[in-house]
Every structure is written in C-alpha cells, then in structure tokens.
Symmetry: C2
Subunit: 312 residues, 2 copies
C-alpha cells in the first residue's frame, strides 16, 4: 500500500531527472467538446514519454549495491529508451532486451541513450529467458515497464504536476496500456485532487483492461490490431488491484475515432504525439454529453512517432 | 520612433487577447549544436501564429470611431486569420481580401474566426484595388500584415516574453518574411535584452531582406520558389529602417537545410510547426561554429500546416 507521502517523496526524488512538462489548452477543442480540457504534455518529457518518470524512480530506489550491478528490462517501446536514459543519467548500467525485428530507429534510440542492446527472438518466452540469463550473469535488477510499484508511483507524478497547476479538475483521462500510468494517476488523483475522478480509455481492439474490470481478473488480448501501439500490453498483478479499486470506468473507442482525435490534437494543439495519446480525447468526444462544462485533464503520454508513417 | 515604454504598454494592451506561450528546450538539439537553445513556441499562440500579437495591437490602437467601421487587410496567410480572430475578440468587424485561388482550408479558417471573406483575382493589383474599394464603401481601416508600427510592436512581444524568462540570451534568431517579426524582435532585444543580438534567417530562394541590407534599399524577390511559404513577402518602408539600423546579419539557408531542421524540430521538440519556423534553426546549424556555448533564443513563428503535405 502507498500513501500521499510516498508520492511526494517519489516526485522529489525524480525531479532532477525529469521535466515538469507544460499544460496546453485549445479554445477550439473546448468548443467542440463543451468542456475545459487541460492537456498535460508528457510528449515533451525527456526521451519523449512519461515512462521516464517511472524508470527514474525505480532505479533511484535501488540500493547502492544493486545500482552497481545495473538494471535490465525487455521492451520494444518507450520503456526501453526510458530505462536507458534514466540509468545513464543516474550513472547505472542498463541492459535492454529487444526482439530482433524491432525497428532500427528504436535500436538506435536505446544505443543513443547508452543502453546496452541485447537482441533475442521475437517471442515473449525468448525475451523472458534472455532477461533471466542477463540477471544471472550480471546481477542486474529486472525492472518491469508497468507492473512495479516504484514505476507506478513515478508515472503518477505527471498527474500530480497537473493537479498542482489545476487543482479543481473534475476528471483526468489516461490511456490504458500496461496499467502503470492509470494506476499511478489514480493514486495521484486520490492524494492530490479534490473529488477528481480518473477515467481510462482503450481501443476496442485491445480492450483487455475494460474486460478485466468486468471479470474481476486480468484478461488478455486475443489480437492487437490497433494503431495505438503503446497500448497493446496487458495489466499486471501489482497495478491491477489499484486499478480495480480506484477506477470505475474505461471508455472504448474505434480506430477511426483514434485517428480523428490524433489529427485534431496535431492540428489544434500543434503538438506531435503518438496515436495512444489520442485515445483519451477520442473517449471524451464519444461521451461528451456526460462531460459538459466540466474541467478535464488529459495525459498526453508520448511523442515518439515515425513521421514518415502518419495515418493522415 | 518607439521607446521601451511603448513596447511595455503594447504588451499590457494585448495580454487579454494572447497566450504567453511556453519556451521549450531539447538537450539533444543542444548537443548537436554545442549551444543552449530556447524555443519560444508561438505555434501555440492563438490561431497558431505570432501574427495574433500584431493584429490585436493594431486594432486596439484604433479610435472608437474607427473600431465601429472595422478593419480590412489582404493576405492569403496567417495574418488573414489573425486579423479575423483579433477583430472578433475585440468586437470589431474584419474584411479579409483573399485571392480566389487560396485553399479552402484558409478560407474556412477566416470564416471560422468570423472574418468577412472577400475574394478577388489572384494578383497584387487586384487585391489592392479591392482593398481600396472596401475602405471607401465601409470606412474600414486598412491594417498591413507587417509594415505597420503597431503591428511591429505587437510582434515584438514574443521576444519580450522570451527575454522575461531568459534574460541572459546572447542571440535571438527569427525568420524574415515581411519584416514585422524581426523589426519587433530587434526593438524588444534592445529594450529588454542584456547585450542580446538579433539575427535574421532567410531561404536563399527568397533572400530579399539579405539583399536589402547589402544594397541599403528594399529589394524584391524575382521568384519565390521556397517551402517556407510564410517568408515570400518583402520588407516595407516602416520596418526596413528599423531592420537596417538594428540588424547586422541575416543567414541564408537552402531548401534541404530547411526541411532537415524542420524534421529535427518535429522529432526532437515534438511540436507541429511551419517550414518557415525551421529557417532559424537551419541557420544556427549552418553557422554553429560561431555560436558554441552561447544562449540562443529561437522564435517558432507558427504551426498552421497541412498535415497531408509534409516534406518528410
């Protein structure tokens, strides 16, 4: 269990390693919705995503002895870069296991942040096997991208910063991928909000969290056919109990709704963001009748996109 | 002639109608250049460009009688939208003359901001004739997009805000189009900077300001074959004397250099900006040896781009 003080200490701990990212508004988007939206732009975070927050906190919580032996994770997404940069900033070695079919851009980004890249067969079992090997041979500590309490607390600091600027938000919307961001946001809203409700959003195509809330146990996606590539992962046994307790609603959206909202964010907010970031806005558009005249925070989770592959 | 107090009063006057836009930094861009860059993001300004500042100031400086009769301009770019929105915000009628071949998106944007759109043949003489007609029939005051002292002062407030956050900048880079932004920035740097030098930047393809500084008189472009569509216009008799007096250097860049810098801004700063905004960064890259370890402000001038027509 965590308390308000844990989140305050976590935030103080990681502040030297992260940006307090700006909050943007758009009067045209507000008019379209009929509410006041506040976009917390963690696409401007170091290495381009909120994942930097959790990665930094997890490493800073290690003992000096653990720090000497390094950290390891397997990820093909933003957490690989986040752990590489956070480790490098703190002076710790990071071993990053990536599937051999990951794009060159992602591999280069990890190397650019001085992570030691280790390739493996593109299966989950190969990743996990390789990770165990690295832990054994180096003594490095495994850090999970989302199912780790220190990571969850770190991710919650985006929401804490947003509430420090706008303390009277009625709602905060996040996307749901592996569950770290929404769990951390739920804790931050409980500790620092004033009757602020966190609502999740997911593509219909990967609605495992929505299904998990219904069944009461962690559900898996049968397929992951979504443009929101950051949201293909599933919940874990550490974040799911928090989500189950704190989150009452996850709104699902179609792929077309995601692309439309992504275009609105790019055109109106003038920011570069990943498809995953558009899922919360798509959810607000979808259910806008329920949110008239409300003050709504939206976590813009990351900005690492391939500009040559835009959906518009 | 203007003084520091004119710019302070101008800023106070327009504050209710503009955003004090964020300043972003990127450690990766800083590393590439070897200097510290501070990007003043007026792509996040209302209607998506710094032009909102000058338009608001010019309208607010009209007499009550003039305000009743409205304002008129001819523009196919951001100033058409800026004057429409500024006029609407202040409660003044705006007549916007646009060439009939302007894109539908631009026409819709003007209408969306409640400007009265008047189309004419796509020649400068037709625009000017139509503008005279409107002035005569309505009594509206003509507001020039860049060659107007109130507009110049308004544009200078972006630089003033930047210096209020970072008072020790060694340089501030702006693009040069019609000359309003660089003239206003030069005044702001003189009044509010501490030994801060403003440097202009232009595409080789439309280097009229560079040529004008050499010849000492306003030069025109023979062709305007550049991706930086906001910079095709020429200097005027009100802004050129300021530029001649205050600006010593304009750096020219190629089209390829503009596109490369635009991609770096989108990928590293995670912002949507017009090609014109990339001209200053391209200039800094080109002459980076001269700017090692310096503190450099960069005005990001606007973010109104057609996302379906990106050069990468």
């Amino acid at each position: 269990m965590t308390n308000k003080n844990d989140l305050i200490k976590c935030h103080d701990r990681i502040k030297p390693f992260i940006h307090n990212t700006p909050v943007l508004t758009s009067s045209s988007i507000n008019k379209m919705i009929g509410a006041n939206l506040f976009f917390k732009c963690d696409n401007f975070q170091k290495m381009g995503a909120f994942k930097m927050r959790g990665a930094a906190n997890a490493i800073l919580q290690l003992s000096e002895d653990q720090k000497k032996r390094g950290v390891v994770t397997h990820s093909s997404g933003n957490f690989a870069q986040a752990l590489s940069l956070a480790a490098n900033s703190i002076g710790v070695k990071a071993y990053i296991i990536m599937p051999s079919n990951a794009t060159e851009i992602k591999k280069l980004a990890v190397k650019g942040y001085m992570g030691e890249l280790i390739e493996c067969e593109p299966t989950l079992s190969a990743r996990e096997k390789k990770s165990k090997e690295i832990q054994k041979s180096t003594g490095a500590t495994f850090i999970h991208p989302s199912n780790d309490l220190e990571v969850i607390l770190g991710q919650g600091t985006a929401c804490k910063e947003l509430l420090e600027k706008h303390s009277d938000l009625d709602y905060i919307f996040t996307p749901v991928g592996g569950g770290g961001l929404i769990a951390g946001s739920a804790l931050a809203a409980k500790y620092f909000g004033s009757n602020c409700t966190v609502i999740g959003s997911e593509p219909f195509e990967v609605d495992d969290a929505y299904q998990s809330l219904i069944s009461g146990k962690i559900e898996k996606n049968n397929s992951t056919n979504t443009i929101a590539d950051g949201l293909k992962t599933e919940l874990g046994d550490i974040n799911f109990p928090i989500i189950k307790k704190e989150i009452n609603e996850i709104i699902r959206v179609t792929e077309i709704e995601i692309i439309e909202s992504m275009k609105i964010i790019w055109e109106r907010l003038k920011i570069v963001c990943e498809p995953s970031c558009a899922v919360p806005l798509a959810a607000i558009f979808k259910e806008k009748k329920s949110f008239q005249r409300k003050k709504i925070g939206v976590i813009i989770s990351g900005g690492n996109v391939d500009l040559s592959k835009l959906p518009f």
